[in-house]
């Protein structure tokens, strides 16, 4: 890698990282490095200052307590993918993690880095939408909390301000009777999602859907919540017919679908329906067991 010249800082606390970020113009945060470094390597990005948060303590843990799953922004995909408790409590999280890149990428790349980069083909945003995640953002005047639906603004753009750092991701702990899953088609070169659908279903005692969460990535400039799918399922038994009818609405309302030589917009929208159906079927299966 032959990047341009930059200054390098490696703070040990979040507070210090935030203050460094606010002291310097043209500074970039380096977490796992899997988005920033390729850009710097091609000199598409040439920040004057790189603030490496790899040594910041307290932002790389998974905690499940008080009805919440809290994941530090610096937690690697591998850590999430191999967490046995998450596999039981919220299987869509490890399932998504294990669909990302390859082993080396999963060992270095982080949840926070992925959502902040907001690549339209990234895997995590689908699960964040489906699970109604919220993001704790640290800035010079303290922290604020943003819901996933407000967090993603546009392709590669979030609500995070220039002087802010994502610190924690908070997800409501799924109630008993819940199941979740992720279904994805890989872009063959990069391993990113051509389309990915994350789904969570909660069943009531009679086996009907009491709550549904469906997030779709890869199709639109930002990941979105497939509300039409969710609405179609609530109150119904998640059988094959109900799932198929609901999944068919997975790309409803998408205006400018993403398009490149790997896949047209039309195909991505179609895949959203197929993958929604698959993710919902697995989620229902898990909710029942």
């Amino acid at each position: 890698m032959i990047p341009g010249t930059f200054d390098y800082h490696a703070p040990k606390t979040l507070k210090k990282a935030v203050s460094l970020l606010n002291e310097h113009e043209d500074a970039k945060i380096l977490a796992g490095g899997h988005s920033l470094i390729p850009l710097m390597k091609l000199r598409f990005a040439a920040p004057a200052v790189v603030i490496d948060i790899g040594r910041v303590s307290g932002i790389s843990r998974i905690r499940i307590s008080d009805g919440h799953i809290q994941i530090g922004a610096l937690t690697t995909h591998h850590t999430i993918g191999s967490n046995a408790r998450l596999r039981r409590v919220c299987p869509v999280l490890p399932e998504t993690a294990n669909e990302i890149g390859d082993l080396q990428v999963r060992n270095r790349g982080t949840l926070g880095g992925s959502v902040v980069h907001a690549d339209p083909a990234a895997d995590w945003p689908a699960a964040m939408m489906a699970l109604r995640a919220s993001f704790e953002v640290a800035g010079p005047s303290g922290t604020r909390e943003v819901s996933a639906s407000d967090f993603f603004v546009d392709m590669m753009t979030t609500t995070i301000g220039d002087g802010e750092i994502l610190s924690q991701i908070r997800i409501p702990e799924p109630p008993a009777g819940s199941g979740s899953a992720y279904a994805k088609m890989h872009q063959s070169a990069s391993g990113f999602a051509i389309t990915g659908v994350a789904a969570q279903l909660t069943l009531d005692e009679s086996g009907n859907v009491s709550a549904a969460g469906v997030g779709v990535t890869g199709v639109a400039p930002i990941a979105y919540t497939a509300s039409a799918v969710e609405d179609a399922l609530v109150g119904k038994a998640p059988d094959e017919g109900a799932i198929a009818a609901a999944a068919a609405l997975a790309a409803d309302g998408v205006q400018d679908a993403n398009e490149d030589h790997h896949a047209s917009g039309e195909y991505r929208m179609h895949l959203a329906t197929v993958l929604a159906s698959r993710a919902l079927a697995s989620a229902a299966e898990r909710a029942k067991s």
């Binding site: 063959s188 070169a189 990069s190 030589h261």
Partner: protein, 777 residues
């Protein structure tokens, strides 16, 4: 061949321990005192006039040693050479090492920066200001040949680079004779070879010795030495080329590139060692590409499946300039168009087009994958047209076993073959009948299984010099040290093929020494006699033969010494294990070390015998070799997504005699994956303005191990009479055989949807559309 101990054994590659442990030396590992680093300024435009280049800011940057442009360098450095320009209607472009007036593709170098480290060099590149006047570009070969197209070369009549015609038999008579005629367009998309190690060059000039040493990641160190010496104006004996460890080539390092001459020139001019390592991005832009033909085939057939004629009318997109062998590559397609079939009436009409893209040249298979793809697809199209099993059409048209040597309609003489045994074995290994039954059952369930066959024959062991653009012979020297250890100097340049192991196996058996006592030296023009290099599946078939012939000369002398030492008749000396013994009296014997020690002492010599024990041989092959085989792919295509699941891959290859089965399997494995890469994933895409859309691994799909099932490999053995070992070559077989097998399988799966052909790469979306009411291509 002597009775073999080593030959035929699965000996682990002797190259691997150093590779695995990081002990190998690549160009990038080289560090010399005072070494400078070179970075190139490359065109971001596909086609533009260069109005001016301002290097002042770059030159002023701290750490920059020199900045040179075409105006500085081109007067002293000749253009990039092409060894194959003898073609009808050829227009040969000037190919300066640094573009001066005009750039013609994205990535073309036009200036070079020399600096104290790579970072400064790259910073300085960003400071070179080039004033371009962008011109309209043409990136489509057919459009480039239209009258009125934008021209790459103002002084040429058109963008037509050359033409070439081949006709065997009488194609029009074949059409008349046919019961039916069909035509089909085939596209062989452009591919990037992508070796794991990109190119790299280092150069060091010693003014005292007037000696330039050039390290390059190349497959052809000797040819490179000759060409670089001519380009930069040094006597050839003042240039030493070293190809150190080379991390793969696949043909893209069978070339002479601008950077090699520029680095040599800069080292000489600056009298400082210089190094340049290609980035992956540069590799995508300015290392040769492969394939890129599109053409229409007309095929005549009898109702029983007999193919009466094959006409191929093709446009080859050669890119902007000629590299070393650019024009020769599509001609190999013509020569191999008949595959393993008795097609007496065959023709190819080729037009080559200049476009604003990187040059095409040899990429694993080099012209033959195109031929095999066409003929293997055609056989399936014929079966489809006539409602026959593709298997039966193949059997109907096979060249039969007892007709070898077989003269093809394209003028080649196939050495040996038995296409039926390889086919039968593959059918049995795959359980073809069972697969067809399963296919029928699954179709009833709305699932789409496809079974694809490829019964390929290919041309290897390149080759007779008269048929090669730059010589086809190879050299070998076998030296026995006074202590009896053996050193081989081979003119080939292995870069993954494993000849440090297989050649040692041959020598071990041939001379009666341990494999570990044999050292294979290659890739240094100061140590090794002139040679040709590694390409065209020739390393063992041609280079190995040269070594074996030299070894036989050594062995003859060893026997002469042994007879003298044992006071026996030379005709009675035979090699038994590791001793040369007197026939019928095995306790009377000497080892190779005994003989070599004696021969190097130089006293008590047999009559008319020189001291020492070293011999060389330059081998000129009498013919090419023609490996063959049958590949069977089994796929299931998901109707909802169009995704292809490769369920099984069965291959039976016949590459003649096998020296090391493990190495042969490794070559086949890699070859299959590369062929499947073309079928399913890979494509270099230039947009209409000549910009590359697939310039990183985020967009260009390299096949990965987890895409594939475990391959089920087997073989038959039909030795070639062309060389004494009976080996045919295996470097390209897998790539050539596998592409049509998988495409045929996918098309077979989609047969219920009325699909006869789909162009590569078979992306899921394409298949999904065809399975859901979309257009067939």
């Amino acid at each position: 061949m002597p009775v073999a101990k080593s030959v035929g054994a699965r000996i682990k590659r002797r190259e691997d321990p150093r590779l695995i442990q990081g002990l190998a030396t690549y160009v990038d590992d080289l560090q010399l005192p005072g070494m400078c680093y070179v970075a190139f300024v490359r065109s971001p435009h596909a086609h533009a006039k260069i109005q001016s280049i301002d290097t002042s800011a770059a030159s002023a940057l701290d750490g920059v040693v020199s900045v040179v442009t075409g105006a500085d360098v081109n007067p002293d450095v000749g253009g990039v050479p092409c060894a194959a320009t003898d073609f009808p209607n050829v227009q040969v472009p000037e190919h300066p090492v640094l573009a001066e007036d005009k750039v013609r593709f994205v990535g073309e170098p036009l200036a070079a920066v020399v600096a104290v480290d790579r970072y400064v060099a790259q910073d300085a590149v960003d400071l070179v200001e080039v004033d371009y006047d962008p011109l309209e570009a043409v990136s489509d070969a057919e459009a480039a040949l239209e009258p009125g197209s934008v021209k790459l070369y103002d002084h040429f009549d058109s963008n037509q680079a050359f033409t070439w015609d081949l006709e065997g038999g009488d194609v029009d008579a074949g059409l008349k004779e046919a019961d039916r005629v069909i035509s089909q367009r085939f596209i062989h998309q452009r591919l990037a070879p992508n070796p794991i190690e990109p190119r790299g060059v280092a150069a060091d000039f010693n003014a005292g010795d007037e000696q330039l040493t050039l390290w390059s990641s190349t497959q052809i160190p000797h040819i490179l030495r000759t060409q670089v010496a001519l380009m930069i104006g040094l006597n050839e004996n003042r240039v030493r080329v070293i190809a150190p460890e080379v991390g793969g080539g696949f043909g893209c390092k069978l070339n002479v590139y601008a950077e090699e001459a520029v680095l040599g020139h800069l080292a000489k001019k600056l009298e400082r060692p210089v190094k340049w390592m290609e980035s992956r991005r540069e590799n995508f832009l300015h290392t040769i590409h492969g394939r890129d033909q599109l053409g229409d085939v007309e095929i005549g057939m009898k109702n029983d499946g007999t193919i009466t004629t094959l006409k191929y009318n093709v446009v080859a997109d050669v890119g902007s300039y000629f590299q070393l062998l650019t024009p020769a590559i599509p001609t190999l397609t013509g020569l191999m168009l008949c595959g393993c079939y008795q097609i007496r009436n065959v023709s190819m009409h080729l037009r080559a087009a200049f476009t604003n893209k990187m040059s095409t040249d040899a990429y694993r298979g080099a012209g033959r994958p195109e031929a095999t793809y066409i003929v293997e697809r055609i056989v399936d199209c014929v079966a489809d047209e006539l409602g026959l099993d593709p298997l039966e059409v193949r059997r109907k048209n096979f060249i039969v076993k007892d007709s070898f040597p077989y003269e093809t309609g394209t003028g080649l003489s196939y050495d040996s073959g038995d296409y039926t045994i390889a086919l039968d074995k593959a059918l049995k290994n795959a359980d073809y009948e069972g697969l067809r039954k399963k296919q029928a059952e699954l179709r009833d369930e709305g699932r789409y299984l496809g079974i694809g066959l490829s019964t390929y024959a290919e041309i290897c062991g390149m080759g007779p010099s008269a048929a090669m653009p730059a010589g086809g012979w190879e050299s070998g020297t076998v030296r026995v040290d006074p202590t009896g250890k053996v050193t081989v100097l081979t003119g080939i340049k292995p870069h993954g093929q494993g000849q440090e192991t297989t050649f040692a196996q041959l020598i071990a058996d041939g001379l009666g020494v341990d494999v570990d006592d044999v050292k294979i030296v290659h890739g240094d023009t100061d140590s090794v006699q002139y040679g040709t290099g590694t390409f065209g599946s020739r390393g063992t078939a041609v280079g190995g033969t040269a070594m074996i012939m030299a070894m036989e000369k050594v062995k003859k002398k060893v026997k002469k010494f042994a007879a003298h030492m044992l006071e026996a008749n030379i005709d009675d000396i035979e090699l038994e294990d590791d001793r040369y013994v007197v026939k019928g009296n095995p306790e009377r014997g000497v080892s190779l070390a005994d003989v070599s020690g004696h021969a190097h002492r130089g006293i008590d010599m047999p009559e008319d015998t020189e001291p020492g024990l070293a011999e060389s041989h330059f081998f000129e092959p009498s013919n090419f070799t023609y490996p063959f085989g049958t590949h069977i792919a089994v796929v299931e295509v998901d109707k909802d997504t169009g995704e292809v699941d490769i369920q099984r891959y069965v291959a039976v290859d016949d590459v003649g005699n096998i020296i090391n089965p493990m190495i042969v399997e490794g070559q086949i494995h890699g070859g299959i994956v590369q062929g499947l890469g073309q079928a399913l994933y890979e494509e270099v895409i230039y947009d209409e303005s000549g910009q590359v859309l697939t310039g990183t691994f985020m967009d260009y799909t390299m096949p990965k191990a987890h895409f594939f099932p475990r391959f089920e490999l087997d073989n038959t053995v039909t030795p070639t009479p062309v060389n004494p070992m009976g080996v045919k070559g295996v470097g390209e077989a897998g790539t050539i055989g596998s592409t049509p097998a998988i495409v045929n399988a996918v098309i077979d799966a989609l047969k219920p949807f009325g699909v006869r052909h789909i162009d590569m790469p078979l992306r899921p979306e394409k298949l999904w559309r065809l399975m859901n009411g979309g257009e067939s291509s």
